[in-house]
């Protein structure tokens, strides 16, 4: 076991982790943060996307020992008190989800995009979520939601 200390949703945590466990395993099994889902487990579907040190990553492709010292933001860390994040609100307003399995990852990719580019074009949104698969919506409402969130953030 390896001792790691890292920040999750703004709180420091210390854990003993197995070297062969991944970030997705410790988020879900140790920390009860089950927003991020394991879909393909190979970095193709993006349903495990979380933000690590300000950048979106596939939590299924990060080994647990690698998070030592890192700052992780998951979908659970987006809302403040009882208030949803602007991206979450926009997904609800635009009806940008159906089954919801891809949604936490999709929202984290969208959030990361707006963090680095508060004013994205439609094409930039499409590129930013190209690593997140959704089998329900056909993506149009998701793209609309991200653009709406960007617009709302500017007001």
């Amino acid at each position: 076991m390896i001792s790691v200390r890292f920040k999750v949703n703004n709180e420091w945590v210390e854990l003993l982790v197995h070297p062969h466990h991944r970030l997705i395993d410790i988020l879900r099994e140790e920390l009860d943060l089950t927003g991020a889902k394991e879909g393909c487990g190979g970095g193709e579907c993006g349903s495990c996307t979380v933000i690590m040190n300000g950048q979106p990553v596939n939590a299924c492709l990060v080994l647990a020992p690698e998070v030592d010292g890192a700052e992780i933001l998951t979908v659970e860390g987006l809302s403040k008190d009882e208030e949803l994040d602007i991206v979450q609100e926009a997904f609800i307003d635009e009806g940008a989800l159906q089954c919801g399995y891809c949604t936490p990852g999709m929202i984290m990719s969208a959030k990361a995009l707006l963090m680095r580019n508060p004013n994205p074009t439609r094409e930039e949104v499409i590129e930013a979520i190209s690593g997140n698969l959704c089998r329900c919506t056909g993506y149009i409402r998701i793209v609309n939601a991200v653009l709406k969130a960007a617009q709302k953030a500017r007001v």
Binding site: H20, G42, E44, Q55, V57, L63, P65, E66, A112
Partner: protein, 280 residues
């Protein structure tokens, strides 16, 4: 869940080489985007994984007098965003950008991409046309390997099992150059190349063309280059593209047939050279 292994983070090159100890069940990890998938799919069962990201000088891009040095653990997104790459080595930026998704490009490294030695590695054709130099470290110290001699076969490089790739040097070139990388895949993003073509043309009439996914390794199309040198007109580019087709040896696989790949090499070589000229 993955099968158990030991994880060690190397702090220095010497420590990494010692930890590798020439044992092929010890695996080097940088971004992990290929390695972890292979462990999960049980294609590999390492007993130890050596993380090399923390080694001094192995991440980041530094412009020096004789060229640009890219650390082996530099991520695709760092390469895509880098100013010197955008201005002087755009083919490499295009290759890095063509790989995986945004999330993958935050983790995947150039060293990992080339050391896995897939014939379709998106950064390999660019390294071939820029005649990059691979700087490896092993028990005997540093050694430099021209990119054109680095790849040996599918999944195989000239690196020994106790050597690691440390940096990649892109030598500066004389005069102006225009370049292009065209990746053809089943989807616009997050897919492996069926064919990848890099073209680099210089204002002194030199031409370099590299092909991915159509031979056991990424290759230079030297006969097509030779034919084009000094005569880059539409008709000669078409003829050079036909010659490039003769220079490769693609296989049938799940993504495309051999015949389709041959047609693609011809079409994409023409387009890549035209685009490179337009970018000159």
């Amino acid at each position: 869940m993955l099968t158990p292994f030991e994880y060690v983070k190397a702090r220095t090159l010497d420590e990494a080489v010692m930890l590798l100890s020439g044992d092929d069940r010890v695996k080097v990890m940088a971004g992990g985007t290929d390695l972890i998938v292979r462990i999960k799919d049980r294609l590999l069962e390492p007993k130890r994984v050596v993380d090399i990201k923390g080694i001094d000088g192995i991440s980041g891009i530094t412009a020096r007098e004789d060229g640009v040095y890219i650390g082996a653990a530099t991520t695709m997104n760092e390469i895509v965003r880098n100013k010197v790459i955008i201005e002087k080595f755009r083919v490499l930026g295009e290759g890095a950008h063509a790989l995986g998704s945004y999330q993958i490009r935050n983790r995947a490294t150039i060293g990992g991409n080339v050391c896995n030695a897939s014939p379709l590695a998106d950064t390999a054709p660019a390294l071939l046309v820029y005649e990059a130099v691979m700087i490896a470290y092993g028990p005997e110290g540093f050694r430099e390997i021209p990119a054109t001699e680095f790849f040996v076969g599918p999944g195989k490089t000239v690196l020994k099992s106790n050597e690691i790739l440390y940096q990649i040097k892109l030598p500066y070139y004389q005069g102006k150059a225009g370049g292009s990388y065209i990746k053809f895949a089943r989807t616009k993003a997050v897919d492996l190349a069926i064919v990848g073509v890099a073209a680099l043309v210089f204002d002194n009439d030199d031409v370099r063309i590299a092909l991915g996914a159509v031979a056991p390794t990424p290759i230079r199309a030297r006969k097509a280059e030779q034919f084009l040198r000094g005569k880059k007109f539409d008709q000669t580019i078409r003829e050079a593209a036909r010659i490039a087709r003769e220079e490769c040896s693609p296989i049938d696989d799940i993504r495309a047939s051999k015949e389709y790949r041959l047609d693609l090499v011809e079409t994409l070589t023409y387009r890549a050279v035209k685009q490179a000229l337009a970018n000159l």
